[in-house]
Every structure is written in C-alpha cells, then in structure tokens.
C-alpha cells in the first residue's frame, strides 16, 4: 500500500468515528426556537421531548426571543394583545379580551396567571418540567451565540447543558435531520 493511500484511509476512519452514532433508519429532528412567551414555548418543548421519547435524536437551536427560555429562572408571560384567538374557558363560556384592555398594567400578568392555573388544573406540564425532561432525554441544546452577545447573556445565566453555536452549526445539523421545524 502506498503512503498516500494510507493517509486517505486514516482520514476516512476519522470521519466515520465522528459521524453521529445512529442506526441508518433512525430519523432525527431539529427545531429552531424563536419565541419565548408562555404560549409559544410549548410547541418546541412538547415536540422535542416527544420525538426524543420516540427514539429520535433531537436538536433545539434557541435564538432571539427563544433564547431566554434557557435562563435558569423562568417567569414566562403571555399577552392577549393582538391575539383574537386567545379565549379562555370561564364559567361555561369562552372569554376573550378586547385589545384595548390588554394595555392596562397588570392585565397581562393576570392573564398569564390564569393560563398557568388552567394548565395545572388540566394536567399540562410546566415549561420548566418539559425543559428538564428534554435535558434528561439528551436533547442537544444550542444557544445562538449572536443572540447571547446581542442581549448580553452569558452561559452562567443559563441552565446547565447548552452549547454555543451559530447559523453554520444549525445548518450542519439541519442537513442531517429528517424533520426541521421553525417555531
């Protein structure tokens, strides 16, 4: 064997050992998480934890307003402003809130509190719990470096587990994933 051929074969081995360890038929999923309100935090965490439970390797990329979902202490809020679909069950009816009332101080906090109470009553997991389950299930968590700089966060502000990455890190992951979601 020539020395050139040996170099080629050793490079091929390195590449193979760095490839993700997964059976060829294993599907994988990635999610870009861009929103950090109480209501928008649910879909990415529900889908990530469920996909992981179904055996899919999952990557979550947290960017812009999604990034604060990785902060150690969460106090997620929602707003009824501009959301005509937000109607909560109340005394047998469904009540929405006219936009103008959502501007009154304390209204968003009250809506958030009501939503959290409703979720607890209906057995819906908290975002904190789902996040914990995602980490337990080895979901790969990437914090967007640019957003970290932009909003002046450091990894010390975040829960244990996130790695830092940028657009290229995500794209590399997305090219290998079967399901890529933007939420």
């Amino acid at each position: 064997m020539s020395s050139e051929a040996q170099i080629v074969s050793s490079e091929a081995q390195t590449t193979a050992s760095e490839a993700p360890v997964a059976a060829p038929e294993t599907k994988s999923m990635s999610i870009i998480v861009t929103k950090g309100s109480l209501d928008w935090a649910y879909p990415p965490f529900i889908l990530a934890t469920t996909a992981a439970a179904m055996g899919l390797p999952v990557t979550m990329f947290f960017t812009f307003y999604g990034l604060p979902l990785l902060l150690k202490k969460l106090d997620l809020q929602l707003t009824a402003a501009g959301n005509p679909a937000m109607k909560m069950p109340m005394m047998g009816a469904h009540m929405g809130l006219p936009n103008i009332l959502t501007a009154i101080p304390g209204v968003d906090a009250a809506c958030s509190k009501m939503m959290k109470n409703l979720m607890e009553k209906k057995g819906v997991a908290s975002i904190e719990d789902l996040r914990e389950l995602a980490i337990e299930a080895d979901v790969r968590i990437i914090a967007c470096q640019m957003t970290m700089d932009l909003f002046e966060y450091s990894l010390d502000d975040m829960i244990e587990g996130p790695e830092l990455g940028g657009a290229a890190t995500y794209i590399e992951c997305a090219t290998q994933a079967d399901i890529n979601l933007f939420i």
Binding site: I46, T49, T50, A53, M54, G55, K122, G123, V124, A125, L133, A137
Partner: protein
C-alpha cells in the same frame, strides 16, 4: 397482568408518552407495561408511539373515562 403499571391519569399530552418511555426502560425485554390514562388523545398517541419505537401495543381498552394500554417491550 402486566409486569409494571404506570398511572398517568390526569396528565395531559405529552406527559403520558414521556412517562411511559421512562417506565419502559425499567421493563425487561419481552415484559409488559400497563398504562392508565385519562387523556383521550393518548389513544392515537400510544398507537403512533408503538409504531415508531417498535414496541408492541398488546392491548387497549376503555373503562368509563380511563384508557388502559398494555405495551410489550419489544424494541431493540
């Protein structure tokens, strides 16, 4: 009679699935897990979960508002 039972009553999507996944890890290969749930969505979800993971949904029944599933740990 299943080897283990998971009470997921009162829990909503996706918790019954997530807890079942965890519980299945403690069930030996070929063993069975019984799950009790009140989430009506769990019927379709456990079917999909079993198809995807290769575990066998051995039994499925409903008693009033409680859904009962028996899953056999047949995944590799």
């Amino acid at each position: 009679m299943a080897d283990q039972t998971l009470d997921a009553k009162g829990l909503n999507c996706p918790l019954p699935i997530l807890k079942a996944r965890k519980a299945l890890k403690d069930v030996p290969a070929g063993g069975t897990l019984e799950i009790l749930a009140t989430d009506p969505g769990s019927v379709a979800d456990f079917e999909a979960f079993c198809r995807q993971t290769g575990n066998e949904l051995v039994e499925q029944s409903q008693d009033d508002k409680v859904y009962r599933f028996i899953i056999k740990n047949t995944a590799a």
